[in-house]
Symmetry: C2
Subunit: 149 residues, 2 copies
DNA sequence: CTGAGTGCAAACGTTTTGCACTTGC
DNA sequence: GCAAGTGCAAAACGTTTGCACTCAG
Protein backbone atom coordinates (compact mmCIF):
# COMPACT_ATOMS: atom_id res chain seq x y z
CA UNK A 1 0.00 0.00 0.00
CA UNK A 2 1.24 3.46 -0.88
CA UNK A 3 0.75 5.64 2.17
CA UNK A 4 2.08 8.78 0.52
CA UNK A 5 -0.59 8.73 -2.14
CA UNK A 6 -3.22 7.78 0.40
CA UNK A 7 -2.41 10.89 2.43
CA UNK A 8 -2.04 13.24 -0.51
CA UNK A 9 -5.24 11.91 -2.04
CA UNK A 10 -7.05 13.09 1.06
CA UNK A 11 -5.39 16.46 1.17
CA UNK A 12 -2.97 15.69 3.98
CA UNK A 13 0.75 16.38 3.98
CA UNK A 14 3.13 13.47 4.13
CA UNK A 15 5.24 13.35 7.29
CA UNK A 16 7.34 10.55 8.75
CA UNK A 17 5.04 10.44 11.81
CA UNK A 18 2.00 9.83 9.64
CA UNK A 19 3.75 7.20 7.58
CA UNK A 20 4.71 5.43 10.80
CA UNK A 21 1.16 5.46 12.08
CA UNK A 22 -0.26 4.19 8.81
CA UNK A 23 2.26 1.44 8.36
CA UNK A 24 1.62 0.21 11.90
CA UNK A 25 -2.13 0.19 11.34
CA UNK A 26 -1.70 -1.60 8.07
CA UNK A 27 0.67 -4.17 9.57
CA UNK A 28 -1.43 -4.89 12.67
CA UNK A 29 -4.77 -4.58 10.92
CA UNK A 30 -6.36 -2.94 13.95
CA UNK A 31 -4.66 -1.16 16.81
CA UNK A 32 -5.66 0.90 19.83
CA UNK A 33 -4.08 4.21 20.87
CA UNK A 34 -1.95 2.75 23.64
CA UNK A 35 -0.37 0.04 21.53
CA UNK A 36 0.01 2.45 18.68
CA UNK A 37 1.93 4.92 20.81
CA UNK A 38 4.12 2.29 22.44
CA UNK A 39 4.98 0.68 19.15
CA UNK A 40 5.50 3.83 17.20
CA UNK A 41 7.92 5.14 19.79
CA UNK A 42 10.13 2.12 19.21
CA UNK A 43 10.68 3.14 15.63
CA UNK A 44 10.23 6.85 16.12
CA UNK A 45 11.41 7.83 19.58
CA UNK A 46 10.77 11.55 19.30
CA UNK A 47 7.07 11.43 18.48
CA UNK A 48 4.79 13.06 21.01
CA UNK A 49 1.45 11.84 22.24
CA UNK A 50 -0.14 15.10 21.12
CA UNK A 51 1.10 14.60 17.58
CA UNK A 52 -0.26 11.09 17.53
CA UNK A 53 -3.69 12.28 18.62
CA UNK A 54 -3.66 15.20 16.20
CA UNK A 55 -2.83 12.84 13.37
CA UNK A 56 -5.43 10.29 14.34
CA UNK A 57 -8.01 13.05 14.39
CA UNK A 58 -6.86 14.56 11.12
CA UNK A 59 -6.85 11.20 9.38
CA UNK A 60 -10.27 10.33 10.77
CA UNK A 61 -11.68 13.68 9.65
CA UNK A 62 -10.47 13.03 6.12
CA UNK A 63 -11.56 9.38 6.20
CA UNK A 64 -8.11 7.89 5.80
CA UNK A 65 -8.66 5.80 8.89
CA UNK A 66 -11.69 4.56 10.83
CA UNK A 67 -12.39 3.99 14.50
CA UNK A 68 -13.91 0.63 15.38
CA UNK A 69 -15.82 0.73 18.66
CA UNK A 70 -15.85 -2.59 20.47
CA UNK A 71 -18.03 -3.67 23.41
CA UNK A 72 -16.04 -3.68 26.68
CA UNK A 73 -12.78 -2.76 24.97
CA UNK A 74 -10.83 0.23 23.78
CA UNK A 75 -11.52 1.33 20.25
CA UNK A 76 -9.15 0.17 17.58
CA UNK A 77 -8.21 2.04 14.44
CA UNK A 78 -7.83 0.71 10.95
CA UNK A 79 -7.11 2.09 7.51
CA UNK A 80 -10.49 2.88 5.96
CA UNK A 81 -11.90 0.36 3.53
CA UNK A 82 -15.35 -0.67 2.38
CA UNK A 83 -17.84 -1.57 5.09
CA UNK A 84 -17.13 -4.86 6.82
CA UNK A 85 -17.73 -6.60 10.13
CA UNK A 86 -15.28 -7.73 12.80
CA UNK A 87 -14.68 -10.80 14.93
CA UNK A 88 -13.26 -10.64 18.43
CA UNK A 89 -11.94 -13.58 20.44
CA UNK A 90 -12.59 -12.87 24.10
CA UNK A 91 -10.00 -15.42 25.07
CA UNK A 92 -6.88 -14.35 23.22
CA UNK A 93 -7.94 -10.93 21.96
CA UNK A 94 -7.56 -11.80 18.30
CA UNK A 95 -9.44 -9.22 16.27
CA UNK A 96 -10.08 -9.78 12.59
CA UNK A 97 -12.19 -8.72 9.66
CA UNK A 98 -15.17 -10.82 8.70
CA UNK A 99 -15.08 -11.96 5.12
CA UNK A 100 -18.82 -12.05 4.72
CA UNK A 101 -21.15 -9.98 2.65
CA UNK A 102 -23.39 -7.93 4.92
CA UNK A 103 -25.04 -6.18 1.98
CA UNK A 104 -27.97 -8.59 2.02
CA UNK A 105 -28.73 -7.97 5.67
CA UNK A 106 -28.40 -4.24 5.27
CA UNK A 107 -30.80 -4.18 2.34
CA UNK A 108 -33.28 -6.39 4.20
CA UNK A 109 -33.23 -4.10 7.20
CA UNK A 110 -33.43 -1.08 4.95
CA UNK A 111 -36.58 -2.45 3.34
CA UNK A 112 -38.15 -3.33 6.64
CA UNK A 113 -37.33 -0.08 8.42
CA UNK A 114 -37.49 2.34 5.48
CA UNK A 115 -34.15 3.71 6.56
CA UNK A 116 -31.72 4.72 3.86
CA UNK A 117 -28.59 3.07 5.23
CA UNK A 118 -24.97 3.90 4.51
CA UNK A 119 -22.92 2.89 7.51
CA UNK A 120 -22.57 -0.47 9.19
CA UNK A 121 -20.88 -1.48 12.39
CA UNK A 122 -20.88 -5.16 13.20
CA UNK A 123 -18.74 -6.74 15.91
CA UNK A 124 -19.22 -10.37 16.88
CA UNK A 125 -17.50 -11.70 19.98
CA UNK A 126 -16.84 -15.24 21.01
CA UNK A 127 -14.08 -17.79 21.08
CA UNK A 128 -11.83 -18.39 18.10
CA UNK A 129 -11.17 -21.92 16.77
CA UNK A 130 -7.72 -22.09 18.31
CA UNK A 131 -8.87 -21.08 21.79
CA UNK A 132 -11.72 -23.58 21.68
CA UNK A 133 -9.21 -26.39 21.39
CA UNK A 134 -7.01 -25.10 24.14
CA UNK A 135 -9.87 -24.36 26.50
CA UNK A 136 -8.36 -26.42 29.32
CA UNK A 137 -5.09 -24.57 29.00
CA UNK A 138 -4.04 -22.32 31.86
CA UNK A 139 -3.82 -19.43 29.45
CA UNK A 140 -7.59 -19.22 29.68
CA UNK A 141 -7.28 -17.74 33.12
CA UNK A 142 -4.62 -15.21 32.39
CA UNK A 143 -5.74 -11.64 31.88
CA UNK A 144 -3.10 -11.26 29.19
CA UNK A 145 -3.81 -12.14 25.59
CA UNK A 146 -1.78 -14.90 24.08
CA UNK A 147 -0.70 -14.70 20.50
CA UNK A 148 -1.32 -17.49 18.07
CA UNK A 149 1.89 -18.46 16.41
CA UNK B 1 -41.56 -3.10 34.16
CA UNK B 2 -40.79 -3.78 37.79
CA UNK B 3 -37.45 -2.17 38.54
CA UNK B 4 -37.40 -3.29 42.18
CA UNK B 5 -37.48 -6.94 41.21
CA UNK B 6 -35.04 -6.36 38.41
CA UNK B 7 -32.50 -4.95 40.87
CA UNK B 8 -33.11 -7.48 43.61
CA UNK B 9 -32.97 -10.30 41.10
CA UNK B 10 -29.43 -9.24 40.30
CA UNK B 11 -28.38 -8.84 43.92
CA UNK B 12 -28.51 -5.06 44.01
CA UNK B 13 -30.21 -2.97 46.65
CA UNK B 14 -33.15 -0.82 45.65
CA UNK B 15 -32.54 2.92 46.01
CA UNK B 16 -34.45 5.87 44.65
CA UNK B 17 -31.41 6.87 42.58
CA UNK B 18 -31.33 3.49 40.86
CA UNK B 19 -35.05 3.50 40.25
CA UNK B 20 -34.70 6.91 38.66
CA UNK B 21 -31.92 5.76 36.38
CA UNK B 22 -33.78 2.64 35.31
CA UNK B 23 -37.06 4.38 34.66
CA UNK B 24 -35.31 6.97 32.52
CA UNK B 25 -33.54 4.31 30.50
CA UNK B 26 -36.75 2.41 30.08
CA UNK B 27 -38.66 5.51 29.05
CA UNK B 28 -36.08 6.80 26.59
CA UNK B 29 -35.05 3.38 25.35
CA UNK B 30 -31.41 4.42 25.04
CA UNK B 31 -29.66 7.29 26.76
CA UNK B 32 -26.12 8.61 27.11
CA UNK B 33 -24.51 9.66 30.40
CA UNK B 34 -24.90 13.39 29.82
CA UNK B 35 -28.59 13.25 29.06
CA UNK B 36 -29.10 10.79 31.85
CA UNK B 37 -27.49 13.08 34.39
CA UNK B 38 -29.29 16.19 33.16
CA UNK B 39 -32.65 14.50 33.16
CA UNK B 40 -32.29 12.65 36.39
CA UNK B 41 -31.35 15.86 38.18
CA UNK B 42 -34.69 17.34 37.18
CA UNK B 43 -36.53 14.70 39.13
CA UNK B 44 -33.83 14.06 41.70
CA UNK B 45 -31.88 17.26 42.33
CA UNK B 46 -29.53 15.89 44.98
CA UNK B 47 -28.02 13.05 42.97
CA UNK B 48 -24.29 13.29 42.38
CA UNK B 49 -22.39 12.47 39.23
CA UNK B 50 -20.29 9.97 41.18
CA UNK B 51 -23.37 8.10 42.30
CA UNK B 52 -24.64 7.96 38.77
CA UNK B 53 -21.39 6.48 37.52
CA UNK B 54 -21.16 4.04 40.41
CA UNK B 55 -24.66 2.84 39.66
CA UNK B 56 -24.09 2.54 35.95
CA UNK B 57 -21.00 0.46 36.66
CA UNK B 58 -22.73 -1.68 39.27
CA UNK B 59 -25.69 -2.33 37.00
CA UNK B 60 -23.43 -3.13 34.07
CA UNK B 61 -21.36 -5.52 36.19
CA UNK B 62 -24.52 -7.37 37.17
CA UNK B 63 -25.93 -7.22 33.63
CA UNK B 64 -28.99 -5.16 34.50
CA UNK B 65 -28.05 -2.67 31.80
CA UNK B 66 -25.91 -2.71 28.67
CA UNK B 67 -23.66 -0.18 26.98
CA UNK B 68 -24.20 0.30 23.26
CA UNK B 69 -21.14 1.71 21.51
CA UNK B 70 -21.97 3.79 18.46
CA UNK B 71 -19.66 5.04 15.69
CA UNK B 72 -18.89 8.78 16.07
CA UNK B 73 -21.23 9.15 19.06
CA UNK B 74 -21.27 8.75 22.79
CA UNK B 75 -22.31 5.36 24.07
CA UNK B 76 -25.89 4.94 25.10
CA UNK B 77 -27.20 2.68 27.82
CA UNK B 78 -30.24 0.47 27.77
CA UNK B 79 -31.88 -2.05 30.06
CA UNK B 80 -30.42 -5.43 29.13
CA UNK B 81 -32.48 -7.65 26.87
CA UNK B 82 -31.75 -10.38 24.35
CA UNK B 83 -29.25 -9.56 21.62
CA UNK B 84 -30.54 -7.12 19.01
CA UNK B 85 -29.26 -4.53 16.56
CA UNK B 86 -29.75 -0.78 16.44
CA UNK B 87 -30.63 1.85 13.89
CA UNK B 88 -29.32 5.40 14.04
CA UNK B 89 -30.61 8.35 12.03
CA UNK B 90 -27.68 10.67 11.40
CA UNK B 91 -30.06 13.49 10.64
CA UNK B 92 -32.29 13.66 13.69
CA UNK B 93 -30.45 11.34 16.05
CA UNK B 94 -33.32 8.89 16.41
CA UNK B 95 -31.93 5.68 17.83
CA UNK B 96 -34.02 2.55 17.86
CA UNK B 97 -33.92 -1.21 18.14
CA UNK B 98 -34.00 -3.29 15.00
CA UNK B 99 -36.75 -5.85 14.98
CA UNK B 100 -34.89 -8.32 12.87
CA UNK B 101 -33.52 -11.73 13.66
CA UNK B 102 -29.75 -11.64 13.49
CA UNK B 103 -29.47 -15.28 14.60
CA UNK B 104 -29.19 -16.47 11.02
CA UNK B 105 -26.30 -14.15 10.23
CA UNK B 106 -24.51 -15.04 13.42
CA UNK B 107 -24.79 -18.75 12.75
CA UNK B 108 -23.62 -18.29 9.16
CA UNK B 109 -20.57 -16.37 10.28
CA UNK B 110 -19.96 -18.86 13.03
CA UNK B 111 -19.92 -21.69 10.50
CA UNK B 112 -17.64 -19.83 8.15
CA UNK B 113 -15.17 -18.61 10.75
CA UNK B 114 -15.34 -21.51 13.21
CA UNK B 115 -15.80 -19.00 16.00
CA UNK B 116 -18.13 -19.92 18.81
CA UNK B 117 -20.11 -16.68 19.03
CA UNK B 118 -22.08 -15.30 21.95
CA UNK B 119 -22.14 -11.55 21.67
CA UNK B 120 -23.35 -9.36 18.86
CA UNK B 121 -23.11 -5.65 18.28
CA UNK B 122 -24.81 -4.28 15.21
CA UNK B 123 -25.41 -0.59 14.56
CA UNK B 124 -26.67 0.62 11.20
CA UNK B 125 -26.61 4.32 10.44
CA UNK B 126 -28.46 6.25 7.80
CA UNK B 127 -31.47 8.48 7.35
CA UNK B 128 -34.82 7.59 8.83
CA UNK B 129 -38.01 7.67 6.74
CA UNK B 130 -39.17 10.96 8.22
CA UNK B 131 -35.90 12.77 7.57
CA UNK B 132 -35.81 11.52 3.98
CA UNK B 133 -39.03 13.36 3.31
CA UNK B 134 -37.94 16.54 4.98
CA UNK B 135 -34.49 16.58 3.43
CA UNK B 136 -34.89 20.15 2.20
CA UNK B 137 -35.91 21.33 5.63
CA UNK B 138 -33.60 23.71 7.46
CA UNK B 139 -33.53 21.33 10.39
CA UNK B 140 -31.04 19.28 8.39
CA UNK B 141 -28.41 21.86 9.07
CA UNK B 142 -29.00 22.28 12.75
CA UNK B 143 -26.59 20.47 15.04
CA UNK B 144 -29.46 19.75 17.39
CA UNK B 145 -31.63 16.70 16.99
CA UNK B 146 -35.25 17.28 16.21
CA UNK B 147 -37.86 15.03 17.69
CA UNK B 148 -40.49 13.38 15.57
CA UNK B 149 -43.88 14.04 17.02
C1' DC C 1 -27.35 -3.60 63.17
C1' DT C 2 -24.42 -4.03 59.21
C1' DG C 3 -23.00 -3.74 54.77
C1' DA C 4 -24.17 -1.42 50.70
C1' DG C 5 -25.12 3.00 48.68
C1' DT C 6 -24.63 8.14 48.66
C1' DG C 7 -22.39 12.74 48.07
C1' DC C 8 -18.54 15.52 48.14
C1' DA C 9 -13.94 16.73 46.88
C1' DA C 10 -9.74 15.18 45.30
C1' DA C 11 -7.30 12.31 42.09
C1' DC C 12 -6.75 10.01 37.89
C1' DG C 13 -6.08 8.85 32.96
C1' DT C 14 -7.04 10.33 28.50
C1' DT C 15 -7.47 13.72 25.05
C1' DT C 16 -7.10 18.55 23.60
C1' DT C 17 -5.10 23.07 23.41
C1' DG C 18 -1.84 27.12 22.93
C1' DC C 19 2.35 28.39 21.48
C1' DA C 20 7.01 28.58 19.54
C1' DC C 21 9.57 25.97 16.34
C1' DT C 22 10.16 23.09 12.14
C1' DT C 23 8.94 21.10 7.83
C1' DG C 24 6.57 19.81 3.46
C1' DC C 25 5.38 21.52 -0.76
C1' DG D 1 7.72 31.61 1.86
C1' DC D 2 3.80 30.10 4.01
C1' DA D 3 0.50 27.11 5.64
C1' DA D 4 0.50 22.83 7.88
C1' DG D 5 2.60 19.75 11.14
C1' DT D 6 5.42 18.91 15.40
C1' DG D 7 6.61 18.79 20.38
C1' DC D 8 6.20 20.47 24.84
C1' DA D 9 3.70 21.84 28.81
C1' DA D 10 -0.60 23.19 30.54
C1' DA D 11 -5.42 22.73 30.48
C1' DA D 12 -9.71 20.41 29.93
C1' DC D 13 -12.49 16.58 30.05
C1' DG D 14 -14.77 12.37 31.62
C1' DT D 15 -14.54 9.02 35.03
C1' DT D 16 -13.01 6.95 39.43
C1' DT D 17 -11.66 6.97 44.22
C1' DG D 18 -11.43 7.78 49.38
C1' DC D 19 -13.92 8.97 53.05
C1' DA D 20 -17.57 10.20 56.29
C1' DC D 21 -22.42 9.82 56.41
C1' DT D 22 -26.99 7.57 55.42
C1' DC D 23 -30.10 4.06 54.39
C1' DA D 24 -32.01 -0.57 52.82
C1' DG D 25 -32.80 -5.02 54.34
Amino acid sequence: MNYENLLRGHGLKVTPQRLGILSLMDQKGHINVDDLYLQIKEKFASISLATMYKNINAMMASSVITEVKIPKQKSRFEIAKESHGHLLCQECGEFSDIEFDIGKIVSDISTKSNYQLFETSLVLSGICPLCQHSSASPVSFLPVAHIHT
